[in-house]
């Protein structure tokens, strides 16, 4: 018996080796994709802004997205869930402790374990903006904070009743599209995100993202300006609509996603065509630097760790350039002075466009360095399939401009270098790479 087992294991192992040998050929390509997205952690802010039993569907919308992101690996500690009402415990719910997304009761999106961070009257415009911008009272527990950094990809999902340019919060106040755009700009300036995916399911949803001006934002909405988003799944037993059309099909789409899916954003844009939604879903990608076709769904909806186990030694031939110690120590002394210019309000108001571009460049530059350096460690030459893509081309261009900056303002450049190094060292991706590099040796 034991022998039989050994044989089996042996066969399995040899099979494994075989497949590994096949895959080694393109291992370097994979390593290229490995650093495709510059993020190291994922966050989600999911908000349902309406209360009352007849808005059951909005709670179900939010919970269905919550279910998806949780299933794809974002832990509760990195999800800020805001629900304005508790439908599972509503007196009128004929099926207590459940929230269904489907009228044949297939899917209970309330699940077994829901951690609501902001509930009931806590769901206000003020709290929402404070969560986004991180300006919460010191007493706020960590679970109620968005503790993201400039390596974070954030998913923001909103649903509720809205109109042209606003979203109602609990029938008492509303957030305008300008306020929302400014909040994202603040987040950008406070380096609270790397990339941000904004999804809104409300009437005239497209009006909510039309004022965005901060970089690295991708936005989706369930309907165009002048259109109503419609509900779906009327359920006679529960007596309300269970979900809104857009989120219903979004959930259907997300249910097929698993952590290793290579589905990209272009497929997400095709969710719920007008024939299903009745409204016309919209999206906006002009602020986003990468090609949506190269952005994985799991870059936002999941928390996919960049881990690939390889037995192969990857030759990262050019080691990281050590920064001159002298500059580093100098920078450390001047570090506090840099943050004085953190929120130049007049700059936002008067030179929105120029600033936006400038910032985009700076940030891109930041990442460029991190990435190119990683690349140079990974490959001696940039892989050809990468250099052809738009994003890589952009990166190169920006890099040149960054180099030209070197001569004009050496101080800012060195500071930037310092920050790159810091983020670089902090980034778990790098740590893992380093670790992997060590292990085979």
């Amino acid at each position: 018996m034991a022998r039989h087992c050994t044989v089996k294991i042996f066969v399995l192992l040899s099979l494994f080796n075989l497949s590994f040998l096949v895959s080694t050929n393109n291992i370097e390509d994979k390593a290229g994709q490995f650093f495709n997205s510059g993020h190291t952690n994922n966050w989600a802010v999911l908000v349902c802004t309406s209360r009352f039993w007849f808005n059951y569907r909005h709670v179900a919308n939010t919970l269905s997205v919550y279910r998806s992101v949780k299933r794809l690996g974002i832990p509760d500690s990195r999800i800020v869930l805001m629900l304005a009402d508790d439908m599972a415990c509503n007196h009128r719910n004929p099926k207590p402790a459940t929230v269904f997304s489907h009228k044949n009761m297939e899917l209970n999106v309330y699940g077994d374990d829901v951690e609501v961070d902001y509930r009931g009257y806590e769901v206000t415009v003020e709290n929402f903006l404070r969560v986004l911008t991180g300006r919460l009272p010191a007493s706020t527990p960590r679970s109620k904070r968005l503790l993201s950094d400039d390596r974070s990809n954030i998913l923001i999902y909103l649903t509720g009743h809205g109109g042209n340019g606003f979203l109602k919060f609990q029938d008492s106040e509303e957030i305008s599209n300008v306020e929302l755009a400014d909040a994202f700009e603040q987040m950008w300036q406070k380096r609270r995100y790397n990339e941000l995916l904004f999804i809104i399911d409300t009437c005239q949803g497209a009006s909510m993202y039309e004022r965005f001006y901060s970089p690295n934002l991708m936005a989706l909405a369930s309907s165009q300006v002048g259109e109503d988003s419609l509900s779906h799944q009327p359920d006679l037993a529960i007596g309300v609509h269970l979900m809104d059309r857009y989120t219903f099909y979004l959930l259907e789409f997300l249910e097929d996603i698993h952590p290793s899916s290579t589905t990209n954003m272009n497929q997400l844009f095709k969710v719920c065509p007008k024939s299903q939604c009745v409204s016309t879903p919209g999206h906006r990608t002009d602020l986003f630097l990468r090609d949506p076709g190269r952005v994985l769904i799991t870059d936002f909806f999941g928390s996919v760790r960049k881990v690939e186990i390889t037995m192969e030694t990857i030759n990262l031939s050019s080691p990281m350039e050590p920064l001159p110690e002298r500059i580093l120590s100098e920078d450390r002394q001047r570090e506090t002075q840099y943050y004085v210019d953190q929120l130049p309000v007049s700059g936002i108001i008067h030179q929105v466009n120029t600033r936006t571009h400038a910032r985009t460049r700076t940030h891109a530059r930041t990442r460029t360095h991190a990435r190119t350096r990683t690349r140079t460690r990974t490959h001696t030459h940039p892989p050809p399939h990468c250099s052809g893509t738009r994003s890589y081309y952009k990166v190169h261009q920006l890099r040149h401009s960054a180099d030209s900056d070197l001569h004009t303002s050496p101080l800012s450049f060195s500071l930037e270098k310092f920050f790159h190094l810091r983020t670089f060292l902090k980034s778990p991706t790098l740590a893992l790479v380093l670790k992997q590099q060590k292990e085979p040796h």
Binding site: W53, F54, N90, H91, R92, N93, P94, P234, L236, G239
Partner: protein, 614 residues
């Protein structure tokens, strides 16, 4: 406002208004009447729609299965009612307890001011039984009421049976967010009045009742069920409550929506909605429906047991089962499912019904006219009064100077206060007599004349009313001597403005009453002077007086209900309507009788006074 502040233009405007006064008044009157008749014309009305978000649609699964069992319970109730010869209190308490309700009773007694011959009651004693179904998972802050009357004879047994059947079914559901109170009230509105006063800790009519032992939350909505047959052909919705109050239109919309969904024929004023508005018969059908509503509303009495809820701002309606000769019958299960659906939707309410209209007229169950559309009809009539007042004011402010034989211009002396005040006071005293004497003097009348108490009250009222015609004219001469030309003009100015304010206020509270009064009193107020032919004018005035308006309204109402009556029957009906009006005032606080006796009648007397001015 330049038009009025510029003296020349103002003079021109006023000149035009006074010169063209009579034609403008005629046009206004005709336009007002035409506008009102246009309200029943379908293109001018709006289709009813549900405004309340929380109720939304009829998206509910009605699963009430036990119509037959409910009817059996109804028969059991009938048997016990017959055995006890009244409300079978013990049986009801036991039955409700068996269905898992918290059951309480309330005793009440009431002595009527005079015997009610229609319903044969004088000293009323009774018991209300109600059971509360507590919302299983919600705080006890809100409640809904379903009531059925325990009527004498074989009436409404099925209603009680269905109520108990629904109680049993509702008890097994877990989605109730409001307490549901199942109430069986005795002596129809008197029991309802006692229960509502007990529930709200008020006592407006000096009634005796025992305090309620158990209460639910604040009542959000109530339905009163009247069902006297095992199957029905249609359900009639009754909305008109005390003093012409109506429930929020959404309640009617909800009822209609479920009728549509479940496929039950539904009517209001006993009339089905029709689609052929472009034909004469279709239009006259709509006019009839609307006129019935106007007349019922103007009567200021509750037209179902729901009528008293409205006083407490509880949206309520009565649903009456009608069993006519139509082929298509609806069984009790279906009626139960309709009620289940309605309660399920009312259960979803988050606030009181307030999104839709409170002031409306319904030319059919599917169409409504809101206050914004019907008020201009009244406004056009009221405008006549203001124009007449303006005319009189202009005449008074520039008195025509008479040149005497000596060539000395004599400005007629302005009339003394007394000459105006005297007719005002005397006509109002007549009104007070009309209001108080009939009830106070009933014993005296019964002693001296061979009549019953009820007849005594009604006939005294008519006698005082008629006596008023003889009494007050020329009263001003008692104190002020000869009446002057200026005198009657001032009196008429006062009377016209008085009438305008009176009708305006009435129409705001009860449009139908205000409009009917305006229709009769405004032309009379417009043309009466001492110089018109006396006899003819007197006849016209009597015909247009409030008392005869009521008589015509009784005949007209019977005609509209397609139960025409002979003169004799009509007269008997008229007497009973008067006695009911006085009783409604004494029992429930209906305002029509005091309004007519203390304000409208004296106002009419003022014009009568002007006609006979000397």
């Amino acid at each position: 406002m330049g038009l009025l502040s510029d003296p020349n233009r103002r003079r021109a405007l006023i000149g035009m208004l006074t010169r063209l006064n009579a034609p403008i008044c005629m046009i206004c009157y005709m336009a007002g009447v035409a506008w009102f008749m246009g309200l029943a014309f379908e293109p001018f009305t709006l289709r009813t729609y549900m405004s309340e978000n929380a109720m939304g649609s009829t998206m509910v699964e009605e699963r009430f299965p036990a119509g037959e069992r409910a009817l059996a319970t109804g028969r059991e109730f009938a048997a016990h009612k017959k055995k006890t010869g009244g409300m079978p209190v013990d049986w009801l308490v036991r039955t409700m307890q068996a269905r898992g309700l918290e059951v309480y009773t309330q005793r009440f007694s009431r002595k009527l001011p005079f015997p009610d011959e229609d319903k044969e009651r004088y000293m009323v004693k009774g018991t209300n039984v109600y059971g509360i179904l507590r919302a299983p998972r919600a705080p006890r802050t809100e409640a809904l009421v379903l009531s059925a009357p325990c009527s004498p004879g074989n009436e409404n047994n099925q209603a009680v049976g269905l109520l108990l059947g629904l109680a049993q079914y509702f008890r097994s559901q877990i989605y109730w967010a409001k307490d549901i109170i199942f109430l069986v009230n005795e002596h129809d509105l008197i029991g309802m009045q006692a229960w509502l006063e007990g529930y709200h800790h008020t006592n407006t009519t000096g009634m005796d009742w025992s305090p309620l032992q158990g209460r639910g939350g604040s009542i959000q909505a109530a339905l009163s069920l009247e069902l006297s047959s095992d199957v029905v052909t249609s359900l009639d919705l009754v909305l008109e409550g005390l003093n012409g109050q109506l429930p929020n239109l959404d309640l009617a919309n909800l009822f209609y929506a479920f009728c549509q969904k479940i496929g039950v024929l539904c009517t209001t004023q006993g009339k089905l909605p029709r689609n052929d508005w472009d034909t004469t018969s279709g239009y006259s059908h709509a006019v009839q429906t609307m006129m019935l509503m106007v007349l019922k509303q103007a009567s200021s009495r509750p037209w179902g047991d729901h009528g008293l809820f409205l006083r407490y701002h509880i949206e309520a309606a009565s649903i009456k089962g009608v069993n006519s000769f139509r082929q298509y019958k609806t069984d009790a299960t279906t009626v139960g499912r309709l009620l289940e659906g309605m309660y399920r939707k009312l259960n979803n309410l988050l606030e009181r019904l307030h999104q839709s209209y409170f002031f409306y007229l319904m030319p059919s169950l599917t169409r409504f006219v809101s206050i914004g559309y019907y008020m201009p009809a009244f406004g056009l009539l009221a405008l006549i009064l203001l124009l007449r007042a303006l005319d009189l004011w202009v005449q008074l402010s520039s008195p025509p100077t008479r040149t005497t034989e000596d060539g000395v211009e004599v400005v007629p002396a302005s009339p003394g206060v007394l000459s105006i005040l005297t007719p005002l006071v005397i006509s109002h005293l007549t009104g007070v007599a009309l209001y108080t004497l009939p009830v106070l003097s009933q014993e005296l009348a019964v002693e001296h004349f061979p009549v019953s108490e009820t007849e005594a009250v009604v006939l005294t009222a008519i006698a005082i009313y008629t006596a008023g015609l003889a009494l007050p004219h020329n009263t001003h001469r008692l104190l002020a001597g000869e009446g002057t030309e200026q005198g009657w003009k001032v009196l008429k100015l006062v009377a016209v403005l008085y009438l305008a304010v009176l009708l305006g206020c009435t129409a705001l509270i009860n449009f139908s009453l205000g409009f009917i009064l305006a229709l009769t009193l405004v032309p009379l107020a417009a043309f009466i002077t001492p110089h018109v032919p006396k006899t003819l004018s007197a006849v016209v005035m009597v015909i247009l007086s409030p008392g005869l308006t009521l008589l015509f309204a009784v005949f007209f109402f019977q005609e509209l209900q397609e139960t025409p009556v002979t003169l004799q029957e009509g007269w008997m009906l008229y007497l009973s309507v008067i006695s009911q009006g006085i009783l409604d005032h004494a029992l429930y606080g209906s305002l029509l009788y005091p309004l007519a006796a203390l304000l409208v009648y004296p106002c009419w007397l003022l014009f009568w006074n002007i006609l006979f001015w000397k």
